[in-house]
């Protein structure tokens, strides 16, 4: 009885959040997407521009290349890290979780600023390398692809480590043991038994990192150079500097569809969701 009465009363409570999201999020996004077909005049001309001009295609390619390289880097660092977290003694595990989580809790701007201090031409890394005589003239660590990747991989690492960690903790080590007992070398046992068992974590983590990287703005804008402009920066530039809503909206649609497609394909092929809540 409470049930029925209260349930129907509680239903109304969805309205404040619902109205806010519809008015300040869903409607604006819809408004933006329509601009891609209607600004300055109705038609597909904005999409033609995006896919016909070399400079825009280059930005699309940069976006995919940077997101891809970030994913690979995060996987190469995140996999051993997650493995160690699973197999470390409790105290060590706590420390490693803390290390991965702390930067996760600091703002991206702060972390990117830290990289700028370290990587700039007269920054700490160059000072140190010149100091020990490793190099003679300052090396270029930022305003190029290296800088973008150093910054992005650090920011994305938690999104890779935690899905891997949650899958690895559930793997029964008896399988690896069995493979060893049946004569598999450690490398073979790892490649044929352990790695396939980790696949759901690898896929989820990689998908998260790749999708989040695709729309990234702050880090590439601060650490990248002219050749590392990604789609989000182009959207921002086109709006703030040129007021070109049609083109930016078309780019936004491309980004949204790209993100959605990857999500759908991964979901279909691997039957895993975005296990973002770890």
């Amino acid at each position: 009885m409470f049930a029925k009465l209260a349930r129907d009363r509680f239903a109304w409570l969805v309205l404040p959040a619902g109205i806010l999201i519809l008015a300040v999020f869903a409607y604006p996004v819809f408004w933006l997407l329509v601009r891609s077909f209607s600004d300055p005049s109705w038609g597909l001309q904005n999409y033609e521009t995006v896919f016909a001009k070399v400079i825009y295609l280059k930005v699309l390619w940069n976006t995919v290349a940077i997101a891809g390289a970030t994913t690979i880097g995060a996987l190469l660092l995140g996999f051993p890290m997650a493995y160690s977290m699973v197999h470390a003694p409790p105290l060590m595990r706590k420390l490693l979780v803390f290390v991965v989580l702390i930067p996760f809790w600091t703002s991206i701007l702060v972390r990117t600023f830290a990289w700028m201090v370290l990587l700039q031409p007269n920054g700490l890394l160059n000072d140190m390398l010149i100091g020990i005589g490793f190099i003679e003239t300052p090396a270029k660590f930022m305003f190029n692809r290296t800088g973008v990747l150093i910054g992005m991989i650090q920011i994305m690492l938690p999104f890779m480590v935690f899905p891997l960690f949650s899958v690895m903790t559930r793997i029964d080590h008896a399988y690896v043991q069995a493979a060893a007992n049946l004569g598999a070398t450690p490398v073979k046992g790892f490649l044929r038994v352990y790695l396939p068992l980790c696949l759901p974590g690898i896929v989820t983590g990689s998908m998260l990192v790749f999708i989040i990287s695709l729309g990234y703005f702050i880090t590439p804008a601060l650490l990248g150079g002219r050749k590392d402009v990604m789609i989000a920066q182009l959207i921002q530039q086109q709006i703030s500097d040129f007021g070109n809503w049609g083109l930016s909206s078309a780019l936004a649609v491309v980004l949204l569809i790209g993100t959605g497609l990857i999500f759908a394909v991964v979901h279909k092929v691997f039957k895993v969701g975005p296990d973002a809540r770890f």
């Binding site: 029925k4 969805v14 806010l20 999020f25 160690s84 702390i102 809790w105 703005f217 709006i239």
Partner: protein
Amino acid sequence: MDRVSPWNLLRGVICALVVVYMIVPLAIILIISFSAAQFLSFPPPGFSLQWYDKFFTDPAWLRALNISVQVMIPTAILSTLAGTAAALALSRSTLPGTAFIQGILMAPLVVPVIITAAAIFGVFRIWGLYGTVPGLVLAHTVLTIPYVLSTVVTALGLVDRRLEDAAENLGARPFTIFRRITLPLIMPAVLSGLLFAMVISFDELVVTLFISTPTVRPVTVQMWSNIRGSVDPTIAAIATLLFLFSLLALLLEGLARRKSNQPRAF
């Protein structure tokens, strides 16, 4: 089983490097913020609080801090109330299509934030909310509702429904049940949602960058425009304060969670 094979050695080396990679940049910011030098130099020649002093006496930074707080507090309250209410509706009512509704309410988390930023900027200019504190509050509220919602929905799922049923059988009215039974049990999650919302609002840059103007400019946007000019140690001081702020929120959140475990002990 754990022999020191070359693979384990390699794994150890990679982990050590990752630890350095994650921690060192932040540690350096912390150290530089207390530097006595007039410009960036490492290691700093001496200890000084000059950069903190500069932050708390410079009118431009104070104005920015004021705006950030003016946005953060209403945002946190609004999104905690709206998010908690929606979580109750989604997990305690006969509302049809809850999965779909939850999907829509969580969408700001999934859609790339640059798209949200451009979209909100576009309509806010038409609605006259561009460059205003209420506009920033509304935008930040929408961005933080998903965090509150998912935290509270999870907590509501963990509440033992027999407690609510028992209260009902004893004649308690729905609102009383919520106030006396459900709310105390989900309070840690509500508080952690509130803290999440505060931290995210204070740290948000992308949407804020689009809808703020030089007169209404929160701390992160002021940092953004300063960083692009030159590397100023004042930023290191602010970065340290921001970091401590997040750390404090994290500790409070952990404390709230620990407290929530107590009732389960008996």
